[in-house]
C-alpha cells in the first residue's frame, strides 16, 4: 500500500458507500490510515470486505485510544489485513465522549467480539448491535473506563482481606 493506493481505496469507498463516509486519509511512516465517519464504519468495512476490488478479509486487530485534549476524543482503529496481497490498512473513526456509539462489526468479523468488548470496557465506546456488550477485563461492577486519559493512574485502594468489607462496591 502506498499513498496513491490509499487514495484509490478512499475513492472507491466514497463511490460505494457515500460521499461523506470518508473523513480523511493519512499516510504516515508507510502505514495507510483511512478515517471514516463513525456512523458509516460498518458500511465501509462491509464494502471493503465484500465489494471492493481489493478485499480485506481479515480483521487483525481492533483497538481504541483517547486523543485527549483533541476532539472528538475517542478513536477506534480497525487494522485490516489482506493475506493474499500481503497488505495492511488501518480504518479509524473518532467519536466524542458524550455519545460514544459506533455500529458493531461483529457480524462481519466475528473476531471483533472480544476486542469490541475490550474497547467498551476501557473507553466506554458502545458498539451497537454487539450481542453481548459488557465488560471483559475489569470487574463487572467497576465504575468508569480506565484507559481514558482523564482517568487517573493509582488512587484506587488495593483490596486486602482486612479492608474488603470497607471498600465500596467490592463486597456484598
Amino acid at each position: 500500500m502506498d499513498a496513491t493506493g490509499l487514495e484509490l481505496v478512499a475513492q472507491r469507498v466514497r463511490d460505494g458507500v457515500g460521499e461523506n463516509s470518508v473523513v480523511s486519509t493519512s499516510f504516515f511512516r508507510r502505514q495507510a490510515t483511512l478515517e471514516v465517519a463513525p456512523a458509516s464504519v460498518r458500511d465501509v468495512l462491509e464494502h471493503m470486505r465484500d465489494r471492493d476490488e481489493e478485499p480485506w478479509e481479515f480483521l487483525s486487530s481492533l483497538h481504541g485510544c483517547d486523543y485527549l485534549p483533541d476532539e472528538p476524543r475517542l478513536g477506534i482503529h480497525y487494522q485490516l489485513l489482506s493475506m493474499e496481497r500481503l497488505d495492511r490498512i488501518n480504518v479509524k473513526t473518532r467519536v466524542g465522549v458524550e455519545e460514544p456509539v459506533v455500529p458493531s462489526v461483529m457480524d462481519l468479523y466475528p473476531t471483533a467480539n472480544h476486542q469490541e468488548r475490550e474497547v467498551y470496557d476501557m473507553f466506554g465506546v458502545v458498539f451497537e448491535g454487539h450481542p453481548d456488550m459488557r465488560r471483559i477485563l475489569m470487574p463487572e461492577d467497576y465504575e468508569g473506563h480506565p484507559q481514558r486519559r482523564d482517568f487517573p493512574i493509582g488512587g484506587e485502594p488495593v483490596l486486602f482481606t482486612y479492608n474488603e468489607k470497607k471498600l465500596p462496591n467490592w463486597y456484598g
Binding site: F28, R29, R30, Q31, T33, E57, F58, L59, S60, S61, H63, G64, C65, D66, Y67, H77, Q79, M83, L86, R88, N90, Y109, P110, T111, N113, H114, Q115, E118, M122, V126, P131, D132, M133, R134, R135, I136, L137, M138, P139, P146, Q147, R149, F151, I153
Partner: protein, 427 residues
C-alpha cells in the same frame, strides 16, 4: 448493559440443575424462559477454573455440560488484569519496555520487540543489522523456550508427568543462554529502542551451538514418548477440530491456524527484522485437530533451531545499537571524557527521548500468533497509548468452537493445545 442472549452469566452460574436428593426425577430449568426441561436434556453448569492447573493461569470457563458432553463454553477473563497498558502511559518509552515484557510472560522477547519496533517506526530509527540478527537469535530461542514450556504443561494436563520434567529441563538451557546475554532468565529487557542492550558475551555462541546440537535428540525423545502414546493419541487425534474458514473469521493466527493447513506466518509473509535472510520452512497440519497442533509446534522448534544456527553463522560485525545519541545511551567510557555524552546520558535517563506525534501498528509473529503493538505518540517522552493485540486474547475465542460437542476430557486437551497465556490475555 442489557444482555440480549437472555440469561446473564451470573444467572447461568446459578443454574446448576442437579438434584442432590436423588429420589425425584431430575428436571432442569431453562434459565431464559423458566420452563422445565425434559429430564434427558438435563444440563449442568460448572466452573472450570479460575484456579486450576489445567486452565494455564487464571482462566475461568463457565461450562455447560450434558453428561460428559460440553454444550456451551463462556470464557471469563480479567483475573490477572493489571493495567499494564495504562501504566505504560505513565512511563517514558524506554521504561515502558519493562512493562510490556510482563504481558505474555512466556514470550517476553516478542513483546519487547513489538513495542520497540513500533517506537522505532515512529522515530524512523534504523536498527543495525547486527542488532536485527541478535534480535532474531533471541526471539527464536524464546520461541523454543515458549514451545517447550507449552509441551511440558500440555502433556501434564493429559497426565504425562515425565514430559513436564523434560520440557522444563530443556527450557532451562535456553534460560541459561538468556542469563548469559542479559543477566536475567525471565523478563530480560534485552531489546532496546534502536537495537539491543549489549553485545553477546564470549562463549554465548559456543553455548548456543551446543544447545542447537543437543536439541534435536531431545525432540526425538519427546516424539518417542508421545507420538504413539495411547492416551495422548486418544485425547488428541480428531478432537478440537475447527474449520480453517472459521478460524480466520475468529482472527486466529499462529500455530493454531497453521495446524489447520493455512501456512500464514508473518516471518515469511511480511518479513521484519531481517527474517528474509534466513531459510526456513513453515510446518502446516492437515486435519487441524489437537494432534496436528502438537506436531506443528514441535516442528516449529526444529525450524527455529535452524534459524538460530543460520543467524549465528551469518552474524555480521558492527554496532548492536543505533549510534543516534538522542535515542540510545552513549557508551559508558565516553562519559568520562565527553561533555556531550554526559549531557545525552543525563537527558535520556531523566527525561527520556521524545517521539514525534503519530501512531503506528507493528505486528510480529509470536509463538502464539500475530502479536501487534499499537503505539500513539503525542510528541512527549511518554506514549499516549500502548495497545497490544495479544494473540492469546484473540485466539481464546476459538476455544468454544473447539470444545463444543466434544467430551469434557477432550476439552481439557483443547485448552492445552490452544496455549493461552493469561498474562497476555488480561494484560
Amino acid at each position: 448493559m442489557a444482555d440480549v442472549k437472555g440469561a446473564s452469566y451470573r444467572e447461568r452460574e446459578r443454574s446448576i440443575t442437579i438434584d442432590i436428593a436423588g429420589d425425584e426425577p431430575i428436571i432442569g430449568t431453562d434459565v431464559a424462559t423458566g420452563a422445565d426441561l425434559e429430564p434427558e436434556h438435563e444440563l449442568m453448569t460448572i466452573n472450570l477454573g479460575p484456579h486450576h492447573p489445567a486452565t494455564h493461569g487464571v482462566l475461568r470457563l463457565l461450562t455447560t455440560i450434558e453428561g460428559e458432553t460440553v454444550t456451551d463454553i463462556k470464557p471469563i477473563i480479567g483475573y490477572v488484569h493489571t493495567g499494564i497498558e495504562k501504566s505504560c502511559e505513565d512511563q517514558q518509552y524506554w521504561k515502558a519496555i519493562t512493562f510490556v515484557e510482563r504481558m505474555d510472560y512466556l514470550s517476553y522477547y516478542f513483546n519487547a520487540a513489538a513495542f520497540c519496533m513500533a517506537v522505532e517506526t515512529l522515530l524512523e530509527e534504523e536498527v543495525p543489522t547486527r542488532a536485527q540478527y541478535l534480535r532474531v537469535i533471541h526471539m527464536e530461542l524464546n520461541r523454543i523456550a515458549s514451545h517447550l514450556f507449552w509441551i511440558a504443561t500440555a502433556a501434564l494436563d493429559i497426565g504425562a508427568v515425565t514430559m513436564l520434567w523434560w520440557g522444563c529441563r530443556d527450557r532451562d538451557m535456553v534460560l541459561d543462554l538468556f542469563e548469559m546475554s542479559s543477566g536475567q532468565r525471565l523478563h530480560t529487557r534485552y531489546f532496546q529502542v534502536g537495537g539491543v542492550f549489549e553485545d553477546i558475551p564470549p562463549g554465548f555462541e559456543r553455548k548456543t551451538r551446543e544447545f542447537i546440537e543437543a536439541m534435536p535428540a531431545r525432540l526425538d525423545q519427546y516424539a518417542a514418548l508421545l507420538d504413539r502414546n495411547e492416551i495422548w493419541l486418544r485425547r488428541n487425534k480428531g478432537t478440537g477440530i475447527v474449520a480453517v474458514e472459521q478460524l480466520l473469521e475468529l482472527g486466529v493466527t499462529g500455530p493454531l491456524l497453521r495446524a489447520a493447513g493455512n501456512p500464514w506466518d508473518l516471518r515469511k509473509a511480511m518479513p521484519y527484522s531481517c527474517y528474509e535472510d534466513f531459510d526456513f520452512r513453515i510446518p502446516v497440519g492437515t486435519v487441524g485437530d489437537n494432534y496436528d497442533r502438537y506436531r506443528v509446534r514441535l516442528a516449529e522448534v526444529r525450524e527455529s533451531l535452524t534459524i538460530v544456527e543460520q543467524a549465528l553463522d551469518g552474524l555480521p560485525e558492527g554496532p548492536w545499537i543505533t549510534s543516534n545519541r538522542k535515542v540510545a545511551l552513549p557508551p559508558r567510557h565516553e562519559l568520562a571524557t565527553s561533555m556531550e555524552a554526559l549531557i545525552h546520558h543525563f537527558k535520556l535517563v531523566t527525561e527520556g527521548f521524545r517521539v514525534p506525534p503519530g501512531e503506528a501498528y507493528v505486528p510480529i509473529e509470536s509463538p502464539r500468533g500475530e502479536l501487534g503493538c499499537f503505539v500513539v505518540a503525542d510528541g512527549s517522552a511518554k506514549p499516549a497509548r500502548v495497545h497490544m493485540r495479544d494473540p492469546s486474547f484473540v485466539n481464546l475465542q476459538a476455544l468454544a468452537p473447539m470444545g463444543e460437542g466434544g467430551l469434557l476430557a477432550d476439552f481439557i486437551a483443547s485448552i492445552a493445545m490452544l496455549d493461552p497465556i493469561l498474562g497476555g490475555i488480561d494484560r
